[in-house]
């Protein structure tokens, strides 16, 4: 049905919309500098979706807030370039950012309750930015806001204009947050775990809505999530983050067809599958993401990696392209399909079969 990956650079009005180069974010802490984001480079075309995937503590939210310019200057130090429409915005002043937010770039957050002002009617929260950025008068802003509420499929938008956030369900609130974000027609929308606080059915609705709006407005989107399932059918490109670095990035189909990084594989195989029988043991890697103060010399994932060897804890692998494919980058000494890893994988599988044979027989369904 869909055309295969559109080659980069063939869309009308091209050139990357967003080009992040060697971006690092550090926070001061009593224990030393926390390197939340390290040397991240990525680019995003107009109208496209980039999925940023990783678990809590991988730096994905800090990265999106850095791009958005939302981090407090007193504690966060940012280096590198954030080029938006050919202009480096990383050095923007607060005033410049204020002009920029909403009209060029907007963000939606995970928790729709805390993202909205609880003591302000939802209509006002939309008209606020319309009046400020677009210079609309009261009635035009009102009508536009009602239209926006309608476009995010809030039933009876004219009536809902005058309700407070607590009078709406979680899914409805997230729609309002989206309406606020879309109000001034941003060219880039950053969605930071927009559906994590929602039910699956509402998650599907919200993701559909984002996709429709994106297509209609030819807007680019960065979708941040911990669930590879969420981005699989929605993103053109995926970047997997671990310990503040991009460890693998590729066009979505390529990534799923040919994962190189053991961490990507781990994220993937931890998802319970509907096509697997009940009580299938999930492959869960041990441990948690590392502390980001004074990282060691090796690969940050090595302590949790089933395929790690000595080299992995000694030398950090650089992000390099797959042979003949400059679009698919990964950072690993022994990628998932290397002979070394396959050897270990076979070994683990054999061990698991032995364990299952020994432990089996005590439960047969009921």
């Amino acid at each position: 049905m869909t055309s295969e990956e559109t080659p980069v650079g063939t869309l009308p009005g091209t050139g990357a919309l967003l080009d992040v180069r060697d971006l690092s974010t550090k926070f001061d802490s009593p224990r030393g500098a926390v390197r939340a984001v390290s040397n991240v480079s990525l680019s995003l075309e107009r109208g496209q979706t980039l999925g940023i995937v990783g678990e809590s503590g991988s730096g994905k939210s800090v990265l999106s807030r850095t791009i958005m310019g939302l981090l407090p200057r007193s504690t966060a130090s940012v280096t590198g370039e954030i080029i938006f429409e050919g202009e480096d915005i990383s050095g923007f002043s607060d005033d410049q950012y204020r002009q920029f937010w909403g009209t060029e770039m907007a963000m939606i957050f995970q928790d729709p309750m805390t993202a909205l002002n609880p003591v302000m009617k939802i209509g006002k929260q939309i008209t606020e930015s319309l009046r400020r950025h677009m210079g609309m008068d009261r009635t035009t802003a009102h009508d536009t806001a009602v239209e926006l509420l309608r476009s995010v499929r809030i039933p009876e938008p004219a009536k809902r204009f005058d309700v407070y956030p607590h009078q709406l369900s979680g899914g409805m609130r997230q729609r309002v947050v989206i309406a606020v974000a879309l109000a001034c027609g941003p060219r880039l929308l950053l969605a930071d775990e927009p559906t994590t606080a929602l039910d699956v059915t509402i998650q599907a609705q919200i993701l559909d809505l984002l996709e429709d709006q994106q297509r209609e407005r030819y807007m680019a989107m960065i979708l941040v999530t911990h669930d590879l399932g969420v981005v699989a059918g929605r993103a053109h490109k995926i970047a997997v983050m671990y310990a503040g670095r991009i460890v693998e990035s590729a066009p979505t189909r390529k990534l799923f067809a040919d994962m190189k990084m053991p961490y990507t594989e781990a994220l993937m195989s931890a998802i319970p599958r509907l096509d697997a029988p009940p009580h299938t043991k999930l492959s869960a890697i041990r441990g948690r993401p590392p502390q980001l103060v004074n990282p060691g010399p090796g690969c940050a994932f090595a302590p949790r990696c089933p395929y790690a060897r000595d080299l992995c804890s000694e030398e950090r692998p650089v992000l390099r392209p797959v042979e003949d494919d400059p679009d698919h980058l990964f950072a690993c000494h022994y990628p998932v399909d290397s002979a070394e890893s396959i050897e270990i994988k076979d070994h683990l599988r054999a061990e698991q079969m032995v364990a299952e044979a020994a432990g089996g027989g005590d439960s047969d369904g009921w």
Binding site: S169, V200, T201, A204, G233, M268, P278
Partner: protein
């Protein structure tokens, strides 16, 4: 058999198989403003055999958490019976009920707020034993150490550290240790993995499965993620607005959903495979109607594509569609079967 006037019936119960837990005609109501009543759970019936895991699944507001809480009588249900083994919990007085408490435990959604922030973790896990005066100090120590060890929490660290020094996943492990320490028969898990990342979620699901084998537990697993529920459950009950719309063996529910709502829930799960096209026309529209004034007839008819006139007038009754698989729907996706026997399905293999 007399068909009850309200509710979806009890034909799916299995009294002949000696269930550990039987819930019959459970109703949970909360007072709302202007003398209205929120009916969170209406006439719900299900049972659970020893060693079985029942998944309760549905959207927020469908009453699945209220059901879990009503089972442990916190608060007691408005009406209906909950029977654990031979004890009818709903008939007990406060003191008698307290004596039964060690048999039931609960694990909550938010692992951090469900642990006392001012106690160290070892004391948190030991507390149930101290309350019940189980064993002397040495035995308690041994038991807590064993449980913490079983869930993979460092025992020495637990003696010194408080919950906030642990991650969400670790806190959920501690909750599990606290739940199993009194050797309960039944554990209610109320969305235990919803607040966790996929990787930690996988760890906790595996751990629950392991604990179940090791301590011989029976679980009620409340969740909104069908893929998670399928992974852990033997039997699944799909709930909508305070009622069960479909119940059956895990495999049957997922490979052969009979209720349009179950199918809609299945379609909403994001598939981690980019070659699977996301079809938004399959996605359920709208929100859950208000439980203050639930729709008449089948409660799902306002969002159902198969709904006809009868759905808005007559409440569907539980009818069998397969072995142990029941659905309450006027227009199920698979046709109901006639059962020859009266109650319960016989366990004769190959028929």
């Amino acid at each position: 058999m007399v068909i009850p006037m309200a509710g979806s019936g009890t034909s799916h119960l299995r009294p002949s198989e000696k269930p550990l837990l039987t819930v019959e005609n459970l109703t949970v109501e909360f007072p709302a403003r202007r003398r209205k009543v929120v009916s969170a759970v209406s006439n719900l019936s299900f049972d659970l055999l020893p060693g079985e895991t029942l998944g309760l699944v549905g959207e927020s507001g469908c009453g699945k958490s209220s059901t879990g809480k009503a089972i442990i009588q916190l608060p007691p249900p408005t009406s209906g019976t909950v029977t654990l083994g031979n004890t009818e919990l709903t008939a007990l007085s406060g003191k008698e009920l307290r004596q039964q408490r060690t048999r039931l435990q609960m694990i909550f959604q938010d692992p951090i707020s469900s642990l006392n922030p001012r106690k160290n973790v070892f004391d948190i896990v030991e507390e149930p034993l101290r309350i019940w005066n189980l064993g002397d100090a040495e035995e308690r120590d041994r038991r807590v150490t064993e449980c913490l060890h079983a869930v993979g929490v460092d025992v020495d660290g637990a003696r010194e550290r408080k919950p906030h020094e642990f991650s969400g996943g670790q806190c959920q492990r501690i909750s599990i240790a606290r739940a199993v320490v009194t050797e309960p028969e039944l554990i209610i898990c109320d969305e235990p993995v919803s607040a966790l990342d996929v990787l930690v979620q996988a760890q906790i699901l595996n751990l629950l499965e392991e604990m179940k084998q090791r301590f011989g537990l029976t679980l009620v697993f409340v969740a909104h993620d069908l893929a998670v529920v399928k992974n852990i459950s033997d039997r699944v009950a799909v709930m909508y607005l305070g009622k069960i719309c479909e119940i059956g063996p895990s495999e049957a529910i997922f490979s052969n959903p009979a209720h349009p709502y179950t199918e809609a829930l299945l379609n909403a799960i994001p598939v981690p495979d980019p070659s699977v096209q996301v079809d938004s026309s399959d996605h359920l529209r709208g929100d859950l109607p208000s439980p203050i004034d639930p729709p008449a007839g089948c409660r799902f008819h306002t969002r159902c594509e198969r709904a006809t006139d009868v759905c808005s007038r007559v409440e569907p009754q539980m009818a069998p569609v397969g072995d142990g698989h029941y659905v309450a729907c006027h227009h199920p996706l698979i046709t109901p079967v006639e059962i020859s026997g009266s109650v319960g399905t016989s366990v004769t293999p190959a028929d």
